[in-house]
Structures are given as C-alpha cells and as structure tokens.
Symmetry: C2
Subunit: 379 residues, 2 copies
C-alpha cells in the first residue's frame, strides 16, 4: 500500500501528499473522459462489507477481499453518494494544495459550508454520511486519510533512544525521544508524511497498555537499562500508534505487548497484531503480525504465588468475549491462547498489569525482563 | 496550600516531597503520643460532604467549608477506616523514601498484598474503599496526592515559547516547548515536584478544548505569530493540566478558554475557572478564576452569518444542563452567560468550535485573534 512504500523512500524524495494529489487528479481526469465520451461517470472501490473482510492466514492480518463496488453517477440510488464522494475528493485536493490539515469533522463543516451556498438543502446533514465516503476514497485511491491531510485522533506516548525529524509547517525540528523526561514524546496522528525516525538504538519495542504502567517503567529507566523503545497506546491504539509500531517492526525490532489479562487487554493486543475489522481496508499498514504477548497471563498465577491474591472478578463482558475469541480462526489452533481463555472462563477471574506492583513497585520491571529473557510469550 | 507555596521556592531548595514526608511523620508522632498517653489515637480532617463544599464568592472558586471530622481508632464505626488510612499513610511514606511513584491503583495493590500477609481477609476489597481515604489524607496533611508520589491520570498537550526543566529519575532534561513539532509537549501528571518552567515568553495562554483544533492552530503557527502558549486539555482538564494553567496565571498571563458552545464545553471552562466539586478539597490549587471564555458563543451567530448554517441540535443533556447552570450562584448575576444559556434553551441549537473551519481552515485563527484583540469574552 501507498503509505508502506513511502516509508522506504529516501527522505529527499517528494512527500507522499504529491502522490495522493496525483491520484485525485487522475481520478478526476478519468471522470472527465467518461463525460466527454458520453458514458456515465463512475468509479470503482473495494467493498468494505463484513462478508468482504477476510483474515489472511499466510500474512496474519485482517484485510479486504476481492469484491469490488461500482459507484455510477447515472444510477439513481448511487448518484447522491457519487456526488458527495466527488465533493470530498475536491476538498481533500484543496487541503493538499494549501498544505493544511484538518479532521474528518473539519472536512464535514467545509462541505456543509460550501455546498450549501447555492442550494437550500445541505448536501450532508450528518457526519455519519461523509465518514464512509472518505473510506471509499481511501480504498479507491490506495491512500490513507493521513495522506489526504486528514488527521485522525491521536493518543500514545513513546520514550527510548530514537530521534524524530519532524518537518512541520515552515520548520524542521529534531526531537530526541530519550530526552523527554517524565512526559515522553506524544505520538502524532500522522507518522508517515514529512516525518522520519532516525538514530534508533534499541533491542526491542515494549508496548504497555496503561499509561500508569508506562510512567512506572519510564521512572525506573527500563528503556535505558534494557535498551528498549517504550510505548503506551494509552488504551486501544490509535492509528498513529499502530503505524509507528508497524514501522518499528519493519526496522527489524521485536514487538512485545504487555496488557491486562481481560477482554479489553486482549482486544488491544489482537488489534495491534492482526488489525481490526474497521481498519481492514488498510490492513497491512496498521497490523503487526510479528507482535508477541508477554502478559499478564492467567498462567502467571502458577508461577507467581502472590498473584493469586491479586485476581479480580471477570465481568460478563470478559467471559462473553473470551468465549467468542475461542472461535476465531487465528485463535482456534493456538494452544497457548486457548488455554488462557479457558482458564478465565473456568475461574471467572481476571488479572491486571497493575497487580504486579503488589510486592514492590519495581517488581514489574523484573517480571518483564524475565519474560523477555526466557522468551515466555504467546504469539 | 503546600503545592502553591512550593512553586515560589527557589529550585535549589528541598523538593516538596520532604515536606509531605515530614507531615506524614508528624502525624505518626502525634498518634504515638496519644497511645503513650493512653488516649484513643485519632486524627482530624475536613469534611468533603456536599454540604461542606462552598463557592467562595470573593475568590471565585469551589472550596471546602469549616466542618471538621474526627477519625477515632476506638470508635467501632471508625476503627477500620482509621486503620486503612494509617496503612495508606505508611505506604505513601515508603514511596517518598524510595523516591518512586505509582497510581492510586498501584497503591491499592500494594495494600492488598502486604496487609493480606498475616490475615485471611483483604483489608481492602475494592479500590473504591481506598480512594476516599487518600483524599482524607490529602486534606488532613494539606498536601496533594502528587506530593505523596501518587500520579493521577494525565492528558493535555502544550506548545509555546517556554522551557521545562524536568528533574526526573537520575537525569535533568530541558524540553523546549517551541521545538515539539506537530506533537507538542505532553503535560505530565505532576507539574509541581522537581519540575520548573522557565524562559516563558508569551502574552497570553489559549486553552483549546479539542486536540483537533489545537493541531489546526499549531499547524498555522498561531502561538508563534501571536506569542501565545497553546494548550489543549484534550477534553475535560486533568489535574496536571489544571495545575499548569493555574501556574501560568500566577505568572501574570491572561488565560483564554475556547470550547464548543454546549454543555460539555461549558463544563470544561467552568471547571478550569472555578474548580469542581470533586476537587473542591484542593480548590485554590486547581482553579483559575481569572480565566475568560472567548467562544464559541451563541452570540457569534449574530456576528458571523455563516455560522447559522453550522448549528446542530442541542441534546436533552445540553438543555437540562443549561437550565441547571442558570441557577448557579456564580452564573445567576452574570448577564453574558445568562444570555448564552437562554439562547440555547430557546433555539435548541448548539455550535461546535470545529464549525469555524467552514469558510476556510484558517478562519479559526482570525476568529481567535479578533476575539482577543477586541476583548470580546465572557468572564
């Protein structure tokens, strides 16, 4: 996909926005040719329906299948959506020309403003109408929304021996991720365009579900002592955080994920690893099938006696989710995971990563080091 | 309060943790004296009940009233809570001695671990039991939880001409908040201890509710052109963000707040300004009564014609909240605010800050500059 290729480009080459702008222009020209030829203007995208989302077993992530969809201007059931999609394409082309970014909410308000000028009715009455059409466009053009200058929500923090060269606005700044004190570097929405990651000096990447634990490990200097890149997605990983994990894996670094042993923690891990149904349309860009799960696990209860005093009751949601996960293609044959899920269902207990602070605050460091040293992880 | 005084100390003086540790020790000594004298050990805190939360009209923030509560070890209804509070005090004292931080969740697990060693039953079965006792301790000792090495949730980002000297772990780092590119500096949980803010070169502070708008304004370089400190709390402001706004106001900078015109946006503004019921016990530390509200306002609809096309339906929550706010002591006599609230109730419409991107992405910059230049704000 476009964004992935871009990361391999030398930095002096044209940024990818040109690429996206060119694709938008090519799409426009193709519509013009249709019109000039007297054929109905149309464009083709890939279906994002559930039935066209497949798990690629050989690659280990969720992606779209082969089903195509055509949007035809002269088809009465498609003409409004066709027109809306072109309006979105036109706005994104403008943002790229202006070299300015906004969000899908900002885009929605621009559409509400400009398209309402000559007509009484708004062309979009709800943002829920414009959102799927942006995805149509991403898929049809083979670009991500970040390449269309649309920022997604951001969340996530990083510390480690690594520098960020951020060409932003009219300035180029260099941010040293080993000199961010208690804060860490805030992972932006777009980690693909006009940004580079250099001088990476690390043996592995540790992704920690909770910011609280990240702060604990950052204070202990775990990333300094162990030569790691320490990331927290601060819960479910945003697009920018998933992309940077993918990029660090591309540089050959092992990715270890450390979450609670519950439905939410598992979801965070599996989303990082295989991608998600919502983002299946950019699957290979946001999935990291190489990721390993180091804990906490239900099996830790056998190894660390004190943890048995630290379990809490699993909720209905946890138990239901565990049962569902047992049926997933990518889990069914995975003995380690099947065992984890069955243990929770049987005991109706779960375990939080915070519990590792029970004996002493720094116990969590030893736990992680031991897991990684002994290769005690699930795939 | 302790934390406020600390910011005025010269950096070479002892950090405030010593202060908190000394207060914990004094509390311990006073209990020992009680025991040695054969009198029942007890300690006194200020009631945090609703009826003891008052709005200080002269100062403009929510704080605790004069009602005291005594916790007596030999009172059968208080002895468990008394013992629990002492256990918390002891743990916090240990964290201060170790010079390590954790969260109230981490503290809970330590209590679960160590107090369960000799007894069958856990002394705490839920974190909801330990949380209020931490607040008891903060109030009784006159310190904030950050001074007890307990990190709170963090959220919020800052950009501007300002440097952070962060003495963290075994290192001292200097972070230049004007060199953080697209990311900004992530505001930490604790902005009081072992951290300083120097070389502040700004005319005012702009607090922007949504990260999306912060990113927009950061891209336009608003803080560079206008010489501002640009902050987003990323929604409701966390303790660290409220504290840094308070600190910047203490340095004489005007504070302007820019939110949606709806229940949630107003709540964010009023929490920054007057504090909140939950944090009334540290009112003066987290409230910034000097803050002004620059928009978006319902009155903007008269000034900016296009905004009338950008309104959305107010929800039941918005309308109910607006009605409630009309009764607040600090709003009742405030003509500008009463007008805002009544306009929403009448029209059943609301307005988002994102809508200012309608005509062009950079319109929001002009809007803010005009509001500040013409002093068009509500108090």
């Amino acid at each position: 996909m476009a964004a992935r290729q871009d990361t391999k480009k030398a930095p002096q080459q044209a940024p990818q926005e040109d690429n996206a702008a060119e694709r938008l222009e090519a799409m426009g020209r193709s519509l013009l040719i249709d019109i000039n030829n007297g054929t109905p203007p149309k464009f083709t995208t890939t279906a994002r329906t559930r039935s066209n989302i497949i798990f690629d077993e050989s690659k280990g992530y969720l992606k779209l299948g082969p089903v195509k969809e055509e949007r035809n201007f002269l088809n009465i059931s498609q003409s409004k959506r066709f027109m809306q999609t072109i309006a979105i394409a036109s706005k994104c082309h403008k943002f790229l020309n202006e070299n300015l970014h906004t969000t899908i909410r900002g885009l929605y308000y621009q559409l509400k403003f400009s398209l309402g000028e000559d007509v009484d009715e708004n062309i979009f009455s709800e943002q829920s109408e414009s959102n799927p059409l942006i995805e149509d466009l991403e898929v049809a053009l083979g670009v991500n929304r970040e390449n269309l200058n649309l920022n997604a929500n951001r969340k996530g923090v990083l510390a480690g021996r690594m520098k960020v060269i951020d060409r932003f606005g009219d300035e180029k700044t260099e941010i040293d991720c080993s000199k961010q004190g208690r804060s860490g570097w805030a992972i932006p929405s777009d980690v693909d365009n006009d940004i580079e990651f250099v001088d990476i000096d690390a043996k592995y990447v540790l992704v920690v579900e909770k910011d609280a634990l990240w702060q604990r490990l950052n204070e202990d200097g775990l990333w300094k002592k162990e030569n790691a890149i320490l990331i927290t997605p601060q819960g479910q990983a945003a697009r920018g955080t998933r992309r940077i994990i993918r990029k660090l894996a591309d540089k050959g670094l092992p990715i270890y994920v450390f979450t609670d042993s519950d439905a939410w923690g598992w979801y965070i891990y599996w989303t990082i690893k295989t991608g998600s149904i919502n983002l299946a349309y950019i699957g290979s860009d946001v999935a990291t099938p190489e990721a390993k799960f180091i804990g906490v696990t239900m099996s830790d209860l056998d190894k660390y006696e004190f943890l048995n005093k630290m379990t809490i009751h699993a909720t209905e949601v946890d138990l239901k989710r565990a049962q569902e996960m047992l049926d997933y293609t990518w889990i069914r044959g995975n003995k380690g995971w099947v065992n984890e899920l069955q243990r929770m269902i049987k005991s109706k207990k779960k375990l939080e990563q915070d519990a590792l602070q029970g004996p002493r605050l720094t116990f969590v460091d030893d736990y992680i080091n031991e897991k990684i040293r002994n290769k005690e992880y699930l795939s």
